[in-house]
């Protein structure tokens, strides 16, 4: 179908984790209806490693990403590179998170990650539109620079058709996802939050996206990966944490576990915590 052999198994070197980038302690989220969606999550991610979060959709993974990305408020402690992040204050939003070096590829690119009616070039700066490089002067944005920047991203991430003046809604799902990934990954973030990186993406693009995530890891970023695709979690992650009902059921190393054990943990059955 794609004219060549598809590498669903990702080739990667073993991780060489550096200092701890993300530390999460006792994170709790109560939603509008009073339901506790996160019940005291604690985890950590180091530079140069991928922590995969496995779980059946709706067990708190979305909330975890949204809290870390600045969309939702929470209680608990989150430290980035040793410095605490404000989780409840007036300035707890996506803009300050980006300024701290947290990039966020949201689970739902059409709902959150893109403005579908905006052109590709407008979307390529979405969330980073305050960046000094995009401004002409104190008042006006430099649309020419934005377009040029988008052209570069489109070329490097092989977005098709390579037209920055097309509205985001006219791209296929895989190419929309590449626009989001290009925007979030090219900033050399300290921490990359990725939700469902390859959902609804064609098979050729999946391989491309996986490669880029590994490359970013090898460049020293800490990556928190949420996916409902167990194969994706198993092949990309350096460590795997399983979430069930707003809690972490346990952590496993991909080499020492299999889909069967993870599946049982995802169903809340094997509750014993790994060391």
């Amino acid at each position: 179908m794609v004219g060549r052999k598809v590498l669903l198994h990702v080739e990667k070197k073993p991780a060489s984790p550096g200092r701890t980038i993300l530390e999460v302690e006792n994170l709790r989220v109560v939603d509008d209806r009073g339901v506790e969606r996160l019940r005291g999550i604690s985890l950590h991610v180091s530079a140069g490693e991928i922590l995969g979060i496995a779980g059946v959709a709706g067990n708190g993974q979305s909330e975890l990403l949204e809290v870390l990305g600045g969309i939702e408020k929470a209680t608990g402690t989150v430290r980035l590179d040793g410095q605490e992040i404000d989780l409840t204050g007036k300035h707890s939003d996506g803009r300050t998170r980006r300024a701290r070096g947290i990039a966020h590829v949201p689970e739902d690119r059409q709902h959150l990650g893109l403005i579908l009616d905006f052109m590709a070039w407008e979307n390529c700066a979405f969330g980073y539109h305050h960046d000094a490089a995009y401004q002409k002067n104190a008042l006006l944005m430099d649309n020419g620079k934005l377009v040029a920047d988008a052209e570069g991203k489109i070329e490097r991430f092989d977005v098709r058709p390579p037209n920055p003046r097309l509205p985001a809604k006219n791209f296929s799902g895989g190419n929309q996802q590449k626009i989001v990934l290009a925007r979030e990954m090219e900033r050399a973030p300290k921490l990359l939050l990725v939700g469902q990186p390859t959902r609804g993406v064609d098979i050729g693009a999946i391989e491309f996206i996986h490669k880029r995530i590994i490359e970013l890891r090898d460049a020293g970023a800490a990556i928190l990966l949420v996916s409902v695709e167990l194969d994706e979690i198993l092949s990309l992650s350096d460590r795997i944490a399983v979430m069930f009902d707003g809690r972490i059921m346990g952590e496993r190393l991909p080499a020492e576990t299999d889909a069967r054990e993870l599946g049982l943990m995802m169903a809340g059955i094997a509750g014993e915590k790994a060391a």
């Binding site: 996506g94 803009r95 980006r98 403005i115 579908l116 407008e122 539109h129 006006l140």
Partner: protein, 371 residues
């Protein structure tokens, strides 16, 4: 549905809608036993056929540009500001307060101050519904409509009890000082010869054009405009990007209210030179139609405002020179709004269908030609 070429989308569809509206207006005129051709001629001649006519047309258009831009800015933030009428009346109050507070020596000093007053009062009147929407979730359509009524009552109270000069029975302020009178277009160098001295079209028309440019810059060239448009398209995505909904709702509505308020520079300071009851005369509502027809783009708003200026002035002429009642202009306006606003998509589909049919016939024709 096939995508229409840009020229068809921007020019052909509104034009056809307009023609249909006029056609049905003609049927209405026929139905009341009058001559539609005569009526249309009177209307066009009255609106653009003389220096007097287009002077009035531009005067009305100026007000409609301001209120149309007001609706446009709010619309891009996803807020439907129906309160332009009340905001324009409060803008009038701002103008009156500024103009009456000092013995202005010259209009060049009075104008910037009056603009600030108009913008400030209009924005303040929009700020309350905006805050209620942003913090309490009270729907802005409902609150802005209700604020129109509150504004009307407030103006009655203020004009009768506070601003009415002693000894008069007219609920209006006293006349503004000479130095606060704006130059009409007739007084302007270069273009003055095009206008007759009696028309109220004044320097605010140039301000309205400037406002169109500034609104365009705001929406498509600034970070705030980028955030306004992003928020208007998708609130969840805007929050993801770190855009504060509270900030965008407040700022867009403040700008919207300020623009609606600035309309008062035209009608209160430029024309009546005192504040009277119901000073906005429905221009706030026409602004909604203007923005709708102008497709929420400053260029479109400018053109639509001119059209509504023509309808408004031409309609008045019909009432003056023919036995057709002046209310007919409301009918014509309503039909234009119906066809350009409400039935816009139907017309688009119809034109799209026409394009496809022609494309197919062309293809069939060229195949036949090749054979």
């Amino acid at each position: 549905m096939t995508k229409l070429p840009v020229w068809a989308d921007v020019v052909l569809v509104p034009l056809l809608s307009l023609l249909l509206a006029l056609l049905i207006s003609a049927l209405v005129i026929l139905a009341i036993g009058e001559d539609p051709v005569e009526a249309m001629r009177t209307m066009l001649e009255g609106a653009v056929g003389s220096a007097y006519g287009w002077g009035y047309t531009l005067y009305y258009a100026t007000s409609f540009i301001f209120t149309g831009l007001a609706v446009t800015v709010a619309f891009h933030a996803g807020q439907f500001n129906i309160g332009g009428e009340g905001q324009a009346q409060l803008g009038g109050l701002g103008v009156a307060v500024v103009c009456l507070s000092l013995p202005w020596p010259h209009w060049t000093l009075a104008l910037p101050a009056a603009m600030m007053g108009a913008a400030l009062f209009g924005a303040a009147w929009a700020a309350i519904p905006a805050y209620l929407q942003a913090r309490r979730g009270s729907h802005i359509v409902i609150t802005t409509i209700m604020f129109n009524y509150i504004a009307a009552s407030l103006m009655v109270y203020l004009l009768v009890n506070v601003f009415r000069p002693p000894g008069t029975m007219d609920p209006a302020t006293s006349r503004f000082p000479e130095g606060a009178n704006l130059p009409t277009l007739h007084d302007m160098p270069l273009i003055g010869g095009l206008f007759s001295p009696q028309v109220p079209a004044n320097i605010s028309f140039l301000l309205a054009i400037l406002a169109c440019v500034l609104v365009w810059l705001l929406l498509w060239r600034t970070r705030l405009g980028y955030e306004i448009r992003a928020f208007g398209k998708s609130e969840p995505a805007a929050v993801y990007a770190g855009i504060s909904p509270f900030k965008i709702i407040m700022l867009s509505m403040l700008i919207s209210g300020a623009l609606a308020g600035m309309m008062a520079i035209n009608n209160v300071m430029g024309e009546s030179e005192r504040l009277v009851l119901n000073s906005a005369e429905g221009a706030g509502f026409i602004g909604i139609a203007v923005a709708l027809m102008g497709r929420n783009h400053p260029v479109g708003v400018f053109l639509a405002a001119l059209l509504f200026g023509i309808l408004y002035q031409g309609g008045a002429e019909i009432g003056l020179w023919t036995s057709i009642p002046i209310e007919l202009r409301t009918v014509v306006q309503a039909l234009v709004i119906l066809f350009t606003g409400a039935l816009d998509n139907a017309m688009r589909m119809l034109v799209g269908w026409g394009f496809r049919t022609f494309a197919r016939r062309d293809a069939a024709g060229s195949r036949a030609g090749a054979a």
